[in-house]
């Protein structure tokens, strides 16, 4: 449905599972905004949510989102801000019900809340496999059959069109399950400007815009190389896309907020999690990140124009998770003098005591790190670094046998009395065995996924 607007403002206030609630709150308060998008799902999240739902049919979605709506609802209504969130997880209707309760509590009637579904394939996996979908692992080529009985979640990454459809139906709040991150931002553009499924260049432009804002303040000065030059890091402004009907857009942020929007800060985010920049594949389009121009048109304003796109593929990416064994990691802090030598001795002592008790771990199953002595940048440091005043010894194991992994954890803390002097920092206690969630990325025929949009009124 074309609304006739020439420009809309779309922002992202939640970049990942566990991000601060302040982004979304500030975006609704610090200046003008039309659409607020929120990403609550990491790959590991879907598996956790499936587990929660199996214990309680009213769970399995991002409860943070419900708390957020409770907090920002007055501003949403006052400014007519529409909210699009993948907070539905594996139970979008339960999420919608909880949001409805909040709307009721505030006495807000007539607000449209839409649910986008179809991404959750967990219940259809066997029939899909019977119909010929092999779900070959995109990295290894292996067929899903190898781990089928251990699969704990399976979700297709849906695109932007179901979100646009929900907005067309009049929703002010759109709740989805798994979808692409840029799709949250592209959806409102399709809705407002009436872009078609083969408007490849414009769909690609919205996808580039979505990629720029999908990690929140990572394009306004967060995680920026020259961090010393970033003003007011505490109050980094969240990114806003001012997009026009032709697909050209400006990246900006609200006046008076911290951080900076310039070519360099935006390019940092464009380069984030980048593969082949000429072929950025989503279910909506293949966007060419080498095609566009970037111009600084004023303070904290970068214009992006000329984005090119190629026709979308016929497949959805499916992300599956499966139980893949156990792991345990623990740490101790060891002070100097001779911190590094003592930490090395501590590691040897732990493995020797475990071996004495019949528990041996292969090199591939073991981790030994001396944090503070060059872990993150191993092999890239210049020689002659001074002896660290202390190091953090991180030890870990992984493998298929839970008992063997759990046994490791009980030999770490005893080093405080039975190792060299200066061993401390065991506050976390005995490390536990936790389940490893493996990922299985695959492709499947788009035509076998049925997306559904349903609208509810408060």
């Amino acid at each position: 449905m074309t609304q006739g607007k020439e420009m809309i403002r779309v922002a992202n206030g939640q970049g990942f599972w566990g991000d601060s609630i302040l982004g979304a709150v500030r975006l609704t308060e610090e200046g003008p905004l039309d659409y607020l998008t929120l990403d609550y799902l990491a790959e590991v999240t879907m598996s956790i949510m499936q587990k929660l739902r199996s214990r309680d049919p009213q769970k399995g979605y991002a409860t943070d989102f419900v708390a957020l709506i409770d907090r920002i609802l007055p501003r949403m209504v006052e400014k007519n801000i529409k909210v699009i969130a993948n907070a539905g997880g594996v139970n979008p209707h339960a999420c919608k019900d909880a949001v409805m309760e909040v709307l009721k509590k505030h006495g807000q009637t007539g607000i449209g809340v839409a649910v986008v579904e179809g991404d959750d394939l967990m219940g259809d996996l066997d029939s899909l496999m019977a119909s010929g979908e092999e779900f070959k692992n995109m990295d290894t080529g292996e067929r899903l059959a190898a781990v089928r009985d251990r699969v704990t979640s399976a979700n297709a990454y849906l695109g932007a069109f179901p979100i646009a459809e929900a907005l067309d139906q009049g929703a002010q709040i759109v709740i989805t399950g798994r979808g692409t991150d840029p799709g949250l931002v592209l959806g409102p553009m399709i809705h407002e400007f009436g872009w078609k499924a083969d408007d490849w260049d414009r769909l690609a432009a919205g996808t580039v815009a979505g990629h720029i804002v999908e990690c929140g303040v990572q394009c306004t000065g967060g995680n920026y190389t020259d961090w010393q030059t970033i003003p007011n890091m505490a109050m980094l402004g969240y990114p806003i896309i001012e997009v026009h009907r032709d697909g050209s857009f400006v990246v900006t942020k609200h006046d008076g907020t911290g951080g900076r929007v310039d070519r360099a800060t935006v390019t940092h985010q464009l380069a984030y999690e980048m593969g082949d920049p000429a072929h950025y594949i989503t279910p909506d389009v293949i966007a060419d990140f080498t095609s566009f121009t970037m111009t600084e048109e004023g303070p904290d304003r970068v214009r992006v124009a000329g984005v090119k796109g190629l026709p979308a593929t016929h497949t959805y990416k499916v992300s599956m998770s499966y139980a893949d064994g156990w792991k345990s990691v623990g740490q101790l802090t060891i002070s100097g003098p001779d911190a590094l030598a003592k930490a090395k001795l501590c590691a040897d002592v732990v493995w020797a005591r475990l071996a004495y008790d019949g528990f041996e771990y292969s090199e591939a199953e073991k981790l030994v790190e001396f944090v503070g002595a060059g872990v993150c940048h191993a092999g890239t440091l210049e020689a002659g670094a001074p002896e660290p005043a202390e190091v953090v010894l991180r030890l870990g194991v992984k493998g298929p046998d839970k008992g063997k992994i759990a046994r490791f954890g009980s030999e770490l803390v005893p080093l405080v009395t039975s190792g060299p002097p200066g061993v401390t920092g065991f506050a976390g206690g005995r490390p536990k065995a936790t389940e490893i969630i493996g990922f299985w990325p695959a492709l499947m025929d788009k035509s076998k996924v049925e997306t559904r949009v349903s609208l509810f009124q408060s």
């Binding site: 190389t225 999690e273 980048m274 593969g275 981790l367 092999g379 440091l381 969630i437 990922f439």
Partner: protein
Amino acid sequence: MTVVALHRIAQARSGDKGEGSNVGLIARSEAAYQFLKEHLTAEVVQKHFAAINHGGVERFVADNMRVLNFLLEDSLGGGGSASLITDAQGKTHGLALLRLRMDVPDQVLDATPDPATASV
């Protein structure tokens, strides 16, 4: 020619890509970009990350952004929740690449603003 750390002529951001990481290297000037495009090959980066990355390195270029994008195939200790290592997402790999020291022509240095003199 002067030996400098890449940080002098480039910026970087990195993150996870499955069981590997990507390092996007952003040149600080067009002159720096042309120099890096010619000399900072996948082989040079592979050697630099030998103790971190246990797979191959693939390089992509984006002239419009002055970005060289390097994919390190096996640099996360297994990736996802299977990894035990501290930097399981490759968040610090960008800064590790900026530590690489290269012989850079003085014309390139002259044409590239020095980050040490930048201020808020």
